[in-house]
């Protein structure tokens, strides 16, 4: 067991390294010039060249790459209020430093940019995931249990709508109804107090959750329909267990197995991919940071956000693999 876990962790480290390296290679192979993006489209060539030299972008790629890796995790003095120039862009705990360099465009430490954005993104992603999970499981279960009735068909119809309407339209509509007309919730932003954070997260989380809930409803319904046919569920029924008890105890629990995979997948996706929602509701998250970096060709921020996304994906994937045996007795039995 321990050996398995160690192997799995080694693979995880490899995935993170491979993703970051791939991002480094791809962004440098593209026909784009970071120095020009910093200096501006109208900058004169000599100003572009000076900016290039200042940031060391004229050095060979392997030098830039090894510099990045060397600085990524290193040892230095404990980071207090005052810090030496050489460690101005570091984050970390005690003598262990993490340094992702300085954003070309915003001239701020990437570590600081990410540590601002990450908690907010986690907050939004967690809220949205919770919302879609609760909605999706509840309505999927009801639809499956009442298969063929108005309930079922209505649910399916709603999910079709939820899947086929673009996020932008859902976001604007929710914003217009609940924030502009009814004035129940803030239009956008993140707020300043905990209460405001909570009221601010409702609309963006719902916008994201509508698609997710529709998608989970379909999955849960389908899975449950299949499971309700299976032997052990039929047996339980034959033994006289109540209808609801059967649905919840036997079928729902088994339906959770594939759902866990999907939830983990979506959670990772929401961390970096809620770009439209983040922009409609001006949510200061990781998605807009990463996309902005790619569009501005801001190398350090690209690598920083890829690193964070890769770590989240790896952790989620690990968590799912560890959760299977707990959820599915058939896997545990092995």
């Amino acid at each position: 067991m321990m050996r398995r876990l160690a192997r799995r962790l080694a693979w995880s480290a490899f995935v993170v390294w491979a993703t970051v390296t791939l991002a480094f290679v791809v962004s440098n192979v593209l026909p784009q010039d970071p120095a020009r993006m910093i200096a501006g489209a109208q900058a004169r060539p000599k100003d572009v060249e000076r900016v290039r030299a200042q940031l060391g972008l004229d050095r060979p790629l392997y030098v830039q790459y090894t510099t990045f890796l060397r600085r990524l995790v290193h040892v230095g003095p404990a980071l207090g209020a005052s810090r030496p120039e050489a460690h101005a862009t570091c984050g970390g705990a005690g003598p262990l430093h993490v340094d992702l360099g300085t954003s070309y465009q915003k001239r701020k430490a990437v570590v600081a940019l990410i540590s601002d954005a990450l908690p907010r993104t986690l907050f939004l992603a967690a809220t949205a995931t919770l919302l879609q999970l609760v909605l999706g499981v509840a309505s999927g279960t009801i639809a499956a249990a009442k298969r063929g009735t108005v309930w079922d068909r209505g649910t399916v119809a709603v999910t079709l709508l939820g899947i086929s309407v673009p996020t932008y339209m859902i976001g604007i509509l929710l914003q217009w109804v609940f924030a502009d007309r009814l004035r129940l919730l803030p239009l956008d932003g993140y707020g300043r107090t905990p209460l405001e954070h909570v009221t601010s997260v409702i609309l963006p989380a719902t916008t994201l959750g509508i698609f997710g809930a529709a998608w989970y409803t379909r999955l849960v319904r389908d899975e449950m329909i299949e499971l309700l046919h299976q032997d052990h569920v039929r047996t339980a029924r034959a033994k006289g267990a109540g209808r609801l008890a059967v649905v919840v105890r036997h079928a729902l629990r088994n339906a959770l197995v594939p759902l866990v995979t999907v939830v983990a997948l979506d959670f990772g996706g929401l961390l970096g991919g809620a770009i439209v929602t983040e922009s409609v509701f001006r949510w200061p998250g990781l998605g807009s940071l990463g996309v902005g970096a790619v569009l501005d060709r801001d190398g350090p921020v690209i690598l920083g956000s890829v690193l964070v996304t890769a770590i989240v994906v790896v952790v989620m994937s690990l968590a799912v693999d560890l959760a299977y045996p707990l959820l599915d007795p058939r896997v545990r039995a092995r």
């Binding site: 593209l30 000076r50 068909r153 509509l173 217009w176 300043r192």
Partner: protein, 586 residues
């Protein structure tokens, strides 16, 4: 029992109904303006926070690194320069009370106003001017405009680090500072009035560094903690500002990255005071809305747009083909892509630039002439049979914007009528920038030029002078080379007499309109509306949203609360809204 399609049709109907309600209500245009309290009284009132917003964001607040198109708006209220521009784009004194031109135009002597103070309370002296210039032009500064100042004596040696001080800037007394140029330069004053060399506090240090709290001598000062990177910025009145009685406002806040629809919601409910970014359907109607017309204004046109033709790549190495393109485009059609903002325009310098000559020749739409040019080029095209013309498809590069992607589709239709077949390639912005500036890459691209400073040189020199050609990052995207034009532009740059300068630029305009390295098509002018209670707000020739002299004239003792009585807010919303306003005023 309802079937699935039945219920979803119903749902779809409900959804479209909601959307239609949304659009229907909005089609009724913007809500009514919120009136000023004393509309007839021209005297400025003191107090209040002006709230602005944008869909974009800013990168760095530092005059030595003006890195995006939005931040000049913020820099302008924080940093005052030796000289500034007036509303018509002429250079006027600011921190310097006067200047003299010496040594046949090669030395500028500035005499500083006494008693002007930085935000930290220190007086602005000649030493501060020199220190700030050296900080902005030093070897470590990322300043994208540094080379604009290369005519200063000793610039190259200082910037490469060979010399420790910039010889061209000398302190001649506590309030006197000299700028010496290596040659006469008509663009020096306009370039000095830009932001990069504006004096900054001593805390900024002698050399550029990223860790800095913005501090200058402008009418507003930066609030520590009043900003969150790229999301909002708050500034408050600088009590030691040198212009008596100014500013009227207590402060200004900017909110960035606001979605276009949200900006409109916020403006309608009085959460922001000026609306600058619009959904296209909104602005098209808004410019015609009689309720809002008195409070709307077109910004000065500061950018030109056109089709840049690479004179080194066939078929555009043939001047007749270029002339054909310039004559084939009905610029009125380009306007329809965004009727509120685009104006057809057939020459390289926007009309608001001082020295613009309305009598100089321009390019015009003339389909018959276009076909004639194609014939002269050796590729005659018969529109009736649709035969002839240039035999190969021509790649045309644009990036995805609200604009170029659509003008491209018009261009394809227009050029098809003279026998040129374009193939649109939409690439991402960084790639587009790389391709357009790369020699031998793009035969024809959609291109525009945004005014850096209001002088014809800023348009002619980078776009058409042969010294602006480079293998990569070329500003001269047409790779156009004409010794006569080079000579003309060099002479105009050294010519300090406005009348003589105007003659030279009129001739330059004649040459580029005739030889057509570009088909000039349009200018873009921004539109904005402000609530009537925003007073003293006027478009400026150079600066967008120059609000340091505006004031607020809201109804009631306390503006934002008065808005609540506007009869539009429901109880809960009012509660939330006033709490938000109260914070905004802090």
């Amino acid at each position: 029992m309802r079937s699935i399609p039945g219920s979803s049709a119903l749902l779809f109907a409900a959804f479209s109904g909601a959307l239609a309600a949304l659009s229907g209500c909005k089609a009724g245009d913007l809500a009514a303006p919120l009136p000023a309290a004393h509309a007839d009284d021209p005297a400025p009132r003191r107090g209040g926070i002006l709230r602005l917003s944008s869909f974009a964001d800013i990168r760095v607040i530092d005059p030595a690194n003006v890195a995006d198109g939005l931040v000049p708006e913020v820099n302008n209220v924080l940093f005052a320069g030796l000289v500034d521009y007036d509303e018509a784009g002429r250079v006027v004194p600011d921190l310097a009370e006067r200047w003299e031109v010496l040594d046949d135009g090669k030395r500028f002597r500035f005499v500083l106003r006494r008693g002007a103070r930085f935000h930290d309370g220190e007086e602005v002296t000649a030493d501060d001017v020199k220190r700030s210039v050296e900080r902005a032009l030093g070897p470590g500064a990322p300043n994208p405009y540094a080379s604009f100042y290369e005519s200063l004596v000793g610039f190259a040696a200082f910037q490469s680090g060979k010399e420790d001080a910039l010889r061209g800037v000398t302190v001649e007394g506590r309030y006197v500072v000299d700028f010496r140029l290596s040659e006469r330069d008509a663009t020096f004053l306009p370039v000095l009035a830009l932001q990069p060399l504006r004096p900054v506090c001593r805390s900024a240090g002698r050399r550029y560094s990223d860790a800095w709290t913005p501090c200058g001598a402008g009418p507003f000062r930066f609030v520590e903690g009043g900003t969150e990177h790229g999301r909002h910025v708050s500034v408050v009145r600088h009590e030691g500002y040198h212009k008596p009685g100014l500013p009227h406002l207590d402060g200004i806040t900017w909110t960035f990255l606001v979605n276009l629809a949200t900006e409109r919601f916020k403006f309608e409910r009085g959460d922001i005071d000026v609306l600058h970014d619009f959904l296209q359907a909104d602005v098209t109607r808004l410019v015609r809305d009689p309720r809002w017309r008195p409070f709307g204004a077109f910004d000065v046109e500061r950018q030109i747009g056109g089709e840049s033709m690479n004179t080194e790549i066939p078929p555009f190495d043939n001047v007749e083909i270029r002339r054909a393109v310039a004559a084939a485009i009905d610029r009125e059609h380009y306007r329809l892509v965004r009727p509120a903002n685009i104006r057809p325009f057939g020459s390289p310098v926007p009309p608001a630039v001082p020295g613009y000559d309305p009598a100089a020749p321009v390019q015009r739409f003339d389909p018959a002439a276009a076909l004639e040019h194609m014939r002269k080029a050796g590729y005659p095209y018969d529109p009736a049979t649709r035969t002839g013309g240039w035999p190969h498809p021509i790649p045309y590069y644009v990036y995805r914007t609200g604009l170029a992607e659509y003008t491209a589709q018009i261009l394809v239709q227009e050029l098809a009528r003279i026998g040129l077949r374009l193939e649109i390639h939409v690439v991402n912005y960084p790639t587009y920038i790389a391709f357009t500036g790369r020699r031998g890459k793009a035969p024809i691209t959609s291109y525009g030029w945004q005014q850096d400073y209001p002088h014809p040189h800023d348009f002619f020199d980078p776009l058409f002078h042969s010294h602006s050609i480079a293998e990569e990052s070329s500003n001269n995207t047409a790779f156009y080379r004409n010794p006569d034009l080079d000579d003309l532009l060099d002479r105009a740059k050294r010519e300090l007499d406005p009348a003589a300068q105007k003659v030279l630029y009129a001739e330059a305009q004649r040459i580029v309109c005739d030889e057509a390295p570009w088909a000039f098509t349009h200018t873009f002018r921004f539109y904005d509306v402000h609530q009537p209670y925003v007073r003293g707000y006027r478009p400026h020739a150079v600066w967008t949203h120059r609000v340091q002299e505006s004031w607020l004239d809201r109804t009631g003792a306390d503006g934002p609360r008065a808005l609540l009585d506007h009869g539009r807010r429901e109880a809960l919303g009012a509660l939330l809204g006033s709490a938000r306003d109260a914070r905004g005023r802090r």
